[in-house]
């Protein structure tokens, strides 16, 4: 794995905006094509193999949590347990997830799994692919995200109610809108009838006990870019349990288990021999060097990095009410004080590609940059 500096494309902003990528720069650059990461095919195959194996282990861990009634470790409301178990027993399919991995000195380690609402899908599937077409189309990239998304939406048709598939996200965030419109784009290319509705426009028909869209049509199938842990706390959360329409939710309710960092100590307890896992515990006193992470949090908020019992780094935020886990410290590699995390995508249960996010310190936060990659041989 190497970090290579290059000149950015002339007027690159226009080039990415033509793709619909409007959030390439905020107060700081986000999309950064002045550099790329280069991987050998052997390294890519290692990432691919690890991703497939980690997915299998995660499914085993979900079964273990259900069989042993470990929901309290995840702070999952008890009222939602039947929904989780029904979605699992019915084999409700999952579209995607993103494993965040650290690759250093030939070792690959799982940092966490974004299993419910992973973002940067558009950057990984589309923007970096088109960058490579301009930079050197003869080169390869670990990126079949687009093809796999369309194929899996086609596969999912038989699971859906024979009705429109709604797509929902928060309003006023171009990043969320772009991610969900990309998924909807792929669903349309797969032949599905789709409709976009902002999440606060979703209606509840109290007399008929069903969710409705803006035309008051029932919502039978819905893809949400909004996490389960927020849905269950919202005013309409309880209505999900009363819904007579049996709305088909994607991602399914069982993803509540995997999208929670409590899964990390569960994985470690089940599979301590797995070379891709780091020791992780619910208790603070098992490790001298560790990263303290809220079981529910995003973008590197409320993280504490401790080495030999000394605080190295800490971030602020609003998370942590549900508790923390402690994962052995495995520092990100430094490329001239740039610290990359490999986001490895699993689409339709298959490893499908990677996206690299890089930050200026050991914690990948909301100021991190997206860096394209290629395969060098």
């Amino acid at each position: 794995m190497q970090r290579v500096s290059i000149p950015a494309r002339n007027n690159w902003q226009k080039a990415v905006e033509k793709l619909g990528f409007g959030f390439h720069t905020s107060s700081v650059p986000y999309w950064d094509e002045s550099v790329y990461y280069s991987f050998s095919m052997a390294e890519i195959e290692c990432i691919e193999k690890a991703t497939a194996e980690l997915w299998d282990l995660c499914l085993g861990a979900v079964q273990h949590v259900i069989d042993n009634n470990l929901y309290h470790q995840f702070h999952i409301p008890t009222t939602f347990i039947p929904l989780i178990e029904k979605s699992w027993n019915d084999d409700d399919p999952a579209i995607y997830g993103r494993f965040d991995l650290c690759y250093k000195n030939g070792e690959l380690k799982l940092l966490e799994f974004n299993a419910d609402t992973p973002t940067s899908l558009y950057e990984a599937g589309i923007v970096q692919w088109f960058w490579l077409q301009d930079f050197d189309k003869s080169k390869d990239q670990f990126n079949s995200i687009h093809e796999k998304l369309i194929a899996y939406w086609q596969y999912l048709i038989k699971y859906l109610h024979k009705d429109t598939l709604h797509f929902t996200c928060l309003r006023d965030t171009l990043e969320d809108l772009t991610n969900i419109e990309y998924l909807r784009d792929c669903a349309m290319q797969a032949g599905l009838e789709t409709k976009l509705i902002y999440i606060d426009d979703i209606g509840w028909d109290e007399s008929q006990k069903k969710f409705v869209d803006l035309e008051n049509n029932p919502i039978s199938n819905i893809f949400k870019l909004y996490p389960w842990e927020w849905l269950v706390k919202d005013a309409f959360g309880k209505n999900i349990l009363e819904d007579v329409n049996d709305t088909f939710w994607i991602e399914p309710a069982w993803k509540m288990i995997l999208s929670n960092k409590a899964i990390l100590p569960v994985l470690w307890k089940l599979y301590p021999e797995c070379p891709y896992l780091l020791p992780a515990y619910f208790e603070k006193d098992k490790l001298d060097s560790y990263v303290e992470k809220p079981i529910l949090s995003r973008e590197g908020a409320n993280i504490k990095v401790v080495e030999n019992e000394i605080n190295l780094l800490e971030t602020s935020g609003d998370y942590g009410d549900e508790g923390f886990i402690y994962q052995q410290l495995f520092k990100l590699p430094s490329f001239n004080n740039n610290y990359p995390v490999i986001g490895s995508w699993i689409i339709g249960q298959q490893p499908s590609g990677i996206g690299i996010r890089e930050s200026a310190n050991l914690i990948t936060d909301n100021l991190s940059r997206f860096i394209p990659h290629l395969i060098s041989e």
Binding site: E17, L19, G20, F21, G22, T117, Y122, G125, I126, W129, D140, Q141, F142, N143, S144, I145, H146, E147, T168, C169, L170, R171, D172, T173, L174, E175, D176, L177, T178, E181, Y182, D185, M188, Q189, Y198, I199, D200, D201, I202, G203, W204, D205, E206, S207, L214, E215, N216, Y226, P227, E229, W230, L231, K233, D234, A235, F236, G237, N239, G353, I375
Partner: protein, 105 residues
């Protein structure tokens, strides 16, 4: 090869243009906003946070807390029935989306 052979997009290339246009339209719009003449949904003040809204929300204040009641928009379908009046169909909105502002992760 481990990369997609070809990529085509239907929606996204128009997305940014549409998002930016709608933001500009909102800022200087001469479009008529439409409120159902029989609306019984009360509102005291509208809220505009400077960002783009598909629909302009309206709501009420209780104890300095804003409660969104519904929406009005020149684009809303005439048959849409938004609001909290018991005389209407019993559909309420705004019960999701309270817990965050972006899912970026």
């Amino acid at each position: 090869m481990k990369k997609s052979k070809q990529i085509e997009l239907i929606l996204l290339t128009a997305l940014l243009s549409s998002y930016q246009t709608q933001q500009r339209d909102w800022e200087g719009s001469t479009n008529k906003t439409y409120i159902r003449s029989d609306s019984t949904a009360p509102y005291s003040r509208t809220h505009y946070y400077g960002g783009y809204y598909v629909f302009r929300p309206y709501g009420t204040y209780n104890n300095n807390r804003y409660n969104r009641v519904g929406y009005y928009s020149s684009a809303i379908h005439e048959n849409s029935n938004i609001g909290t009046s018991a005389a209407k169909s019993g559909i309420v909105r705004g019960g999701f989306g309270e817990s965050g502002f972006s899912v970026s992760s």
